[in-house]
Symmetry: D2
Subunit: 255 residues, 4 copies
Amino acid sequence: MMISVIIAGFKGKMGSTALEMVKGDSELRLVALLDPFAKEKEYDGVPVFTNKEDLQGLAADVWVDFTTPQVAYDNTRFALENGFAPVVGTTGFTQEQIKDLQDLSVRKELGGLIAPNFAIGAILLMEFAAKASKYFPDLEIIELHHDKKKDAPSGTAVKTAELIRQIRQPKQQGAADESETLAGARGAEFSGFRIHSVRLPGLVAHQEVIFGAAGEGLTLRHDSYDRSSFMSGVNLGIKEVVKRDRMVYGLEHLL
Amino acid sequence: MMISVIIAGFKGKMGSTALEMVKGDSELRLVALLDPFAKEKEYDGVPVFTNKEDLQGLAADVWVDFTTPQVAYDNTRFALENGFAPVVGTTGFTQEQIKDLQDLSVRKELGGLIAPNFAIGAILLMEFAAKASKYFPDLEIIELHHDKKKDAPSGTAVKTAELIRQIRQPKQQGAADESETLAGARGAEFSGFRIHSVRLPGLVAHQEVIFGAAGEGLTLRHDSYDRSSFMSGVNLGIKEVVKRDRMVYGLEHLL
Amino acid sequence: MMISVIIAGFKGKMGSTALEMVKGDSELRLVALLDPFAKEKEYDGVPVFTNKEDLQGLAADVWVDFTTPQVAYDNTRFALENGFAPVVGTTGFTQEQIKDLQDLSVRKELGGLIAPNFAIGAILLMEFAAKASKYFPDLEIIELHHDKKKDAPSGTAVKTAELIRQIRQPKQQGAADESETLAGARGAEFSGFRIHSVRLPGLVAHQEVIFGAAGEGLTLRHDSYDRSSFMSGVNLGIKEVVKRDRMVYGLEHLL
Amino acid sequence: MMISVIIAGFKGKMGSTALEMVKGDSELRLVALLDPFAKEKEYDGVPVFTNKEDLQGLAADVWVDFTTPQVAYDNTRFALENGFAPVVGTTGFTQEQIKDLQDLSVRKELGGLIAPNFAIGAILLMEFAAKASKYFPDLEIIELHHDKKKDAPSGTAVKTAELIRQIRQPKQQGAADESETLAGARGAEFSGFRIHSVRLPGLVAHQEVIFGAAGEGLTLRHDSYDRSSFMSGVNLGIKEVVKRDRMVYGLEHLL
């Protein structure tokens, strides 16, 4: 049984990458494309629309949405009301909007996913790091990015650190009397452990969590090179939402 | 509440390392030591025995066993019958013996652990690798050991590969028409993926599982330097078995 | 003093990347472009030619050549005869042609470079690995590439191994009685050491040389992500050939 | 031709490790041992002395010295005057003392080595890092040590940074407007680049220098696990000083 897919926002960067991904998967079938900026009437045999109302009554399983914060909420409501399970990568939903859409999905008995991050690898890294910190409370995070990045540490590093903090037994690491002969050498402190940010040309987005214990070490590393890395998460989302009967927030709930 | 501990086989390498670990943990209290080769009557204030029968009636919570295959089964039965939750690192149990001891533990409502491997880091690595292979079916294993090691790949690498095979969707990796200009370059094949064994002086025991997908990579690595790395697993075992009411085989069931 | 540069083959992939690099360096000035497939008469204010003879008499310091094996020899002769120091990335020269061009460069007292590989990082890695092998004869090479690559090991790995063989004292590594329980686990043998080839989606071109000795290890790794990595070598070539009075073969002779 | 060796300070940690190394090398022959704390008259067939004057007139090629700052200068003078090429690992020499001993070695036409660091791997890493920084001015240093270490960054990291500073074209790395949301994340600044210090149990002494450029990366890493790692440097020193006719300061001058 193939899964039939609509893509909203297919002219954007993420939307067009999703389009290629769907076309390349023999288990998925593209049935409609939506984008207010589209000029064409069809694309590679698939009908193109500029107005979502024209999609009412269409037979489709999943609504992939990479649009804008302005329309994403209305789009997702529309999808649910028309029986399309939504897979939404657009950001900017409020807590209330998410609750509202989840309630609607329950009434409609439709699966769905709103995800701020579709990189399965990054999500697995966080999950593994949090679990490992239960047994190895001594750890440091090293995140490495291109040298145009302005903020340090990265948002992913902070989120990883927060997840670890929920699991790890509190502990102040390092020698009690350690000192820096060059300020900053020991990195940023977060809840008793350290975060280090490396910035170099040629790098994209990378993160390592290093755990140490008597006589052993455990290192978890994720490397992200480009946008295509998000597509395995979108693909997984499409295939999972059709099996579910309520919407979730966060790809980790489908892993 | 402190946990009171007996150590059987305390004159051996693992047993004496366990002795130091228990003494160094303020939540544990050593109440008796057993070893047929012991000459002393007490060790650091703790009574020493050469015959397990002399321990009947002792008030203790946990029986740590690093003895020999010949006596481990009898020791573990003895522990269960006397109300001591066993934590056993001795190897060589048959399937029947394990089942037998588990049944006894259920009747006695006692927790217990028999573990062929106490390295928490190695066990976490296997568990994480198996889970990641569900989402990233393209992977290779690189294991690195000292250059005195005779067999390749390592037992841990093969066990990791077997766990991955149970989870990963079958797939033949690599280019369909790839070829080796030097035989063996692509490593050993295992169920469609590859295992590589590095042997160098200075190394101890290390393993990497590398996953690749469009635009991203995930690397999991465990480094084991010496015997002390097993003690965090023994410590965890002691603290977990007292909360349980049946024996398990494999530390992974307590993680 | 700015260095004035001609680029031959500027419509190709490497040539057009070189064009961007030259334009982006304030120490270099583009004075002419050559390509038989060019339609335009000028590009961003720089005159465009389709025939090399039209460049005779031009005032320029360096001739960058990313053309085809068919014309590269004639182009390089032409450059030397007209006083342009050549920096040539085109491949396919015979030993005789190289000798011939070097002799001409000596007579003309002009620097020049023909380089099969412009990746400074890859060249440094080879040089460092060869030097380290003098002191650490125990080593293994791991090269990692995308999973479309057909041959294993990579050409760079073999070249690295050859350079190491010239320096390293011969030695058969590993335990004398080691054996493989899965064929190929220990990788390809090359002169007593081992080469391992990893192939995974998401990877581009990477190489590690790992050295081991009693109590220590040394690891050298090069990561190559895209064509832009060659441009630092072309840039270096341009700036070095103007200081020299004979052509060299191989970027390593300018490092 | 075997090289005959005297070891001064053979009862100390380094001296006794050197003793084992010399005994294990078939190209070296131990002819005398010296230590004021020695009680024995001979060790494994080799005569033992407590007073250096008793060694006058002995036929020996090399004097290995792992003694104390108080006696090392006198010992080294004594060695040179008696025709023994010194290989000295004792620290604490003044600049004047070193010059003095070098002058004496020239008059005696004897090779010699005073080395604050015998770890060949660490020295190669510094040398390679300095050379690479000529072509890749964007770099960061990550050093990793056990969590009992009190100072950060490590002395080796600072020395590596100083060597790099002598070669690398000055440059302020990172985004001009980068900022830390957690203080210290970007590490310690040193001459426009960054140094990060990781401290974890299980680690010993490790250092990575990571270089980045458009489309590529180069990583150099040294791992030091124990004292035995110094012995390859002592071994090299012994075999090199017998070929030389003047003393050098620093093992790098013999590589």
